[in-house]
Amino acid sequence: MTVLRALIVKELGALFVSPVAYAIIAVFLLLSGYSFAVTLIVAKQASLVPLFFQAAVQFILLVPILTMRLFAEERRIGTLELLLTSPAREIDIVLAKFAAAMTVLLAMIGLTVTYALIIGVYGDPDWGPVYSGYLGLVLLSGALVSLGLAVSALTANQIVAAVVSLGVFGILWSIDSLASLLPSPMENWFLGLSLLARFTPFATGAMYTSDFGFFLALILLGLFLAVRALARR
């Protein structure tokens, strides 16, 4: 536990010492604030559903920037050699990076709770979709971070890591659009892999155990692949 804690503290320090985390948080808040204001003032809807979808799309675009450096940078400058030749386990190293990146995303999600409080004070929202939407955002960000980590663990080039992550996220987000072109049962398989199709019920207040399990499985798969990528040497 001491080792994991030391690694998490180190990762958080590395993330917040660079301007990248602050830039990502600032851009996210600016865009989500704009979306919230338009929904509330122009469309006159006390709803966070548009905000959840916009936040999810922003995560698809921003998470690769956050995760690209996590392993690729350490591999490039050689510090990964220090970590992997210490008694720390690969799983500790991966979990620390996952926890640090999730801290940034949870901070971003947490700051948007202000919008929920505003509609709570000035309106009478249906709280079910609000809770499920936030849970969906947390699960989606977990899945994206773990997959981004796995990609970053495979390369020493941050740009390659970011581009490949973006490609993977983009395909997984919109893979359901191809589903209708495919014969059964492939249609259902592609639908089942779609991040958008899995996230939509959360954002609209209809949670299913299968969607929860899907995101959990993606998180575990990403972490497993990242550990395997580190162990392959």
Binding site: T2, A6, K10, G78, L82, T85, S86, P87
Partner: protein
């Protein structure tokens, strides 16, 4: 010519170690031991397998065949225990440049299971031993190459390793820093065994007890420095003779 072992139990041992990168055989059936409190120099031209051997001995790479032990523990089967007995300074001393020296050393200490009083004592030891007092609270990225090398050595000896592995430690150092480093290595060998690689033969000759000479991933010989001198030769001539004989064979 086989040199002596400095002690009865090996601090590190390679047994028919091979390492393959795809189709390339980087290390081919290398076996040698490093005795207690011994300094062993690894010599060889670029691409001879020096760094690969060090990376196997530190647990960074896994052998393709054969085995490697550190502190009596197999680096594959008992990896964590073996890695806990090794201190490693990779080539070019990679460090977290955004951290202060003190933060970095505390982090590396905790990574190796040090905490509380013991961590405090070990920090005081390396701070004094490597003369880091003046830079202890400075950000690593602002340090000179020589100080960065010292910080890298400090993190490697924090946990009192049985084996200290230094990959090209004199790279980029000025003559004064090289002389200082040589003195440090001798001092450190009072506490642990040392494996050091260098392109500079005279450096190895000055600090090492024995030298393992490699060519194209194969071990040509392990020679005792004192024995070479006693035979009226030197490491340079021995190295040239061995590498030329094999190269022309």
């Amino acid at each position: 010519m086989e040199g002596h072992h400095a002690g009865p139990v090996a601090a590190a041992a390679l047994d028919r170690l091979s390492k393959r990168y795809g189709a390339t055989l980087a290390v081919d059936g290398v076996s040698f031991e490093v005795g207690q409190r011994e300094i062993l120099g690894l010599l060889g031209p670029n691409g001879s397998g020096k760094t690969t051997i060090l990376r196997v001995l530190t647990g960074y790479l896994r052998p393709s065949a054969g085995s490697a032990q550190a502190g009596g523990f197999d680096l594959v089967r008992e990896g964590r225990a073996a890695r806990g007995r090794v201190g490693y300074v990779p080539e070019d001393a990679p460090l977290y440049r955004h951290m202060r020296v003190s933060e970095f050393l505390v982090f590396m200490g905790r990574l190796r299971g040090l905490a509380g009083e013991r961590l405090h004592d070990r920090l005081a030891f390396v701070r004094e031993r490597l003369a880091l007092d003046d830079v202890f609270s400075i950000i690593i990225g602002r340090l000179s190459r020589g100080y960065r090398q010292r910080v890298a050595i400090a993190q490697a000896i924090l946990h009192e390793p049985e084996l200290l592995v230094l990959d090209e430690p004199t790279n980029g150092l000025d003559p004064r820093q090289i002389i200082e480093l040589r003195g440090m290595m001798r001092g450190l060998a009072a506490h642990c065994s040392v494996i050091v690689t260098s392109h500079i033969l005279s450096e190895i000759e000055r600090v090492a007890d024995r030298a393992a000479i490699l060519l194209n991933g194969r071990l040509l010989a392990v020679v005792g420095i004192a024995e070479i001198a006693a035979a009226g030769s030197d490491l340079e001539r021995t190295f040239l003779r061995l590498t030329t004989e094999i190269g022309s064979a």
